[in-house]
């Protein structure tokens, strides 16, 4: 079983290895990634009475509240759609994004013991935190389909672009989460800042209002927020309303990829000393 005559070391340990990407290593640890996701999903609704129903309750009741206050009282326009489905269609990706960002921010701290006791590529932790939210996403998505049937809305052929927008919300949560999780490992302030950030972000995204409400000269700045593109994309592909994604989507994607790669570099730099500083 033991390999004989190994001339070159299999592992070299020296300072400053944290600047390399080591994606192959993450791939080698894919089974651990799978087990982390599996555990997160398994543990999530343990010892709860309503169990997986919570995946629906959260966005659904927010939708009800929004419909009453923003739709009925404030009379915010909804692109000619019934306000409930207008809001819920945005809340499905938004809830996924908000929960994922929150979980990702706390994932390093939550795995403090494991991080200080055993080696594995830490990149697995934020990735698993982001992917673990997908079952909840799809459950709330089924409710959206139910609502679409209820309101008699048939999606157009644009539906084929939906996976792109789902992927964008995953990558956005991961890209931002890489920063917040690594920073939170060292500065616990981050875990207090992120819920605020998410609340502000909610109003900076077209969840309760259509993005057509945003003045034209603000549009470019607005598209820097990738979630704006994601939410508009959901409405466009599923409800056939909202603005079709144009050059703003390209801006969003570039922004996401920039945050993502800078986030990976930041994360990898922190990784080398994270066990000492967490």
């Amino acid at each position: 079983m033991l390999k004989k005559n190994i001339k070159t070391p299999i592992v070299v340990i020296k300072p400053g290895l944290g600047v390399t990407f080591k994606f192959k290593e993450v791939w080698d640890y894919r089974e651990l990634l799978y087990f982390f996701i599996w555990r997160n999903i398994k543990v999530k609704y343990k010892q709860t009475m309503l169990g997986v129903a919570w995946a629906i309750i959260q966005p659904f009741f927010i939708m009800v509240v929004f419909s009453i206050f923003f739709g009925k009282f404030a009379k915010i326009p909804s692109e000619g759609l019934p306000y409930p489905i207008f809001a819920y269609c945005a809340l499905v990706p938004w809830t996924y994004f908000a929960n994922s960002l929150n979980n990702t921010t706390n994932t390093m701290v939550a795995h403090q013991r494991v991080i200080t006791k055993i080696y594995f590529p830490k990149l697995i932790l934020p990735v698993s935190a982001v992917l673990s939210g997908l079952p909840d996403f799809f459950i709330s998505f089924f409710v959206l389909i139910g609502m679409m049937l209820f309101y008699g809305i048939v999606p157009s052929a644009n539906l084929i672009f939906l996976p792109l927008f789902i992927l964008m919300s995953i990558v956005t949560a991961l890209a931002v989460g890489l920063w917040t999780s690594a920073a939170n490992a060292i500065y616990r302030d981050v875990s207090y800042v992120v819920p605020f950030l998410i609340q502000f972000w909610l109003f900076a995204s077209p969840v309760v209002y259509p993005s057509s409400l945003v003045p034209a000269n603000w549009k470019l700045l607005y598209s820097v927020n990738p979630m704006a593109g994601v939410i508009e994309g959901f409405r466009w592909t599923l409800l056939g309303k909202g603005e079709s994604p144009g050059p703003t989507l390209i801006v969003s994607m570039v922004v996401i990829l920039f945050i993502l790669f800078a986030g990976i570099i930041y994360f990898r730099r922190m990784e080398g000393t994270i066990a000492d500083r967490i």
Partner: protein, 436 residues
């Protein structure tokens, strides 16, 4: 160098003080950036930087090689840097300086139950923990029954581990870890878990690992375990290797550090203690190998040599030796009247004499002992006692421990004779046997 498993060269690790204990908040960092930039101005002209004041070197220029199949023991006090070394070699943390080369797959065991989730069942935790320790799913599938059997928790395999007793929890956690099969295994003080029977099982498993030709780095405070499992050991103190060599020597070195023992004493002509009839010249402790020492193995004989001069012709010299333990209890006293010859209490000529007292091996417990000597020459009025003439350390070399790893209670630890009779039917027991 095909037989090399690990090469460590100049490995150093610096920690900022407090870094490992608390966590910093953003405010701390901002305050520090602010105060540091102020300090630049304040320190200008002083010329000296105090940058190093807040740092400690947990490891400092550590170098060693480990051959394939070697079981290396790592000994040292808490905080000496043992765990830091293992953490660097297992890539958990990066070194500040130096490098290490590792020739083979590495598995590390710094804690039992890493990654266990209380809400998950035993079965689920086996998979999770196994994956965290670096096992593939197929490997876990294959060994699953082995884990369960080793942990002895068959009945509770589908119960959440939060309902487990702490013993069951530890057994399950260790059984997963014990079945790791890397080429190089790094083990921290993890065998000190569970009850005595399970500890023994764990040590047995470790012994098996050693026999399979795998390389093991083994950190432990259990000298008996180190002695049995490791042929070579290194002693680490405040981040540096103090000694590297055969396990027994290293253990001896470790146990004798900081203990001011006195294995011999000789008085100058004017200071010799005694009475008008005779005075002590020197007292020394001789090991079984005939060497003067202040440290003996508890399994070996030791001799206390008393060198004295008789001043008065015809003095009747009687010597006594008392042994005290660290708590000041007299372990025993022994008189020279046990000697079957003409000297004790009989008139002897003046001149230099040497009396020896042999203390058998397998009598003392491990620990520190103090020797007092008293003498008299005929009348009790001439009696004198010199306390704490010698101080020595009796070291448990582990030879007698066999399969028992704990400490022995008691001031002494004599090797007594045990005997178990083969099963047989006694006449007197027939009536009581019916139930069997």
């Amino acid at each position: 160098m095909s037989d090399l498993a690990i090469r460590v060269e100049g490995l150093s690790k610096r920690y900022r003080i407090g870094e490992r204990t608390g966590y910093v908040t953003l405010k701390d960092t901002l305050t520090k950036i602010f105060s540091n930039s102020l300090k630049v101005f304040r320190d200008q002209g002083k010329g000296k930087s105090k940058a190093n004041d807040n740092y400690i070197w947990a490891l400092n220029d550590v170098s060693f090689d480990v051959k394939k199949g070697e079981i290396l023991g790592i000994i040292g006090d808490n905080g000496a840097g043992k765990t830091t070394l293992l953490k660097i070699l297992s890539k958990i943390t990066e070194p500040t300086k130096g490098h290490a080369e590792i020739y083979g797959s590495v598995g590390s065991l710094l804690e039992v139950g890493t990654g266990f989730h209380p809400e998950l069942t035993g079965r689920e935790n086996i998979y999770l923990s196994g994956a965290i320790l670096g096992m593939k799913k197929v490997e876990i599938d294959r060994k699953f029954d082995e884990f369960v059997a080793f942990a002895e928790i068959e009945k509770f395999i589908d119960t959440p581990v939060k309902r487990y007793s702490s013993g069951m929890y530890v057994r399950l956690a260790f059984s997963v870890a014990a079945h790791l099969e890397p080429e190089i295994l790094l083990v921290d003080e993890v065998l000190a878990v569970g009850d005595a029977a399970f500890r023994k099982k764990c040590l047995g498993k470790m012994g098996d690992v050693a026999k399979e030709g795998r390389t093991v780095l083994f950190v432990s405070h259990n000298m008996g375990a180190i002695n049995t499992l490791c042929s070579r050991a290194i002693l680490i103190d405040t981040g540096t290797i103090v000694k590297d060599g055969r396990t027994q020597q290293i253990i001896k070195k470790y146990l004798s550090r900081g203990v001011v023992n006195r294995g011999q004493i000789a008085w100058s002509e004017k200071e010799r203690p005694g009475n008008q009839a005779f005075r002590l010249v020197a007292v020394s402790l001789i090991s079984a190998k005939g060497l003067k020492t202040s440290q003996i193995n508890i399994s070996e004989d030791l001799t206390i040599k008393i060198d004295y001069e008789v001043l008065r012709e015809g003095a009747c010299v009687q010597l006594a030796l008392m042994l005290f333990d660290v708590n000041g209890y007299c372990v025993f006293s022994s008189l020279s009247n046990t000697e079957e010859n003409v000297y004790h209490g009989k008139p002897i000529h003046s001149g230099r004499y040497m009396s020896e007292c042999l203390i058998y091996g397998n009598l003392l417990n491990n620990g520190k002992y103090y020797v007092s000597i008293s003498g008299t020459s005929g009348s009790w009025r001439e009696r004198f006692t010199i306390n704490n003439v010698l101080t020595f350390e009796a070291v448990d070399d582990g030879i007698l421990k066999r399969d028992y790893w704990g400490n022995y209670r008691g001031i002494i630890r004599p090797k007594l004779t045990w005997k178990t009779l083969p099963p047989q039917v006694h006449d007197g027991m027939r009536d009581g046997d019916k139930g069997l």
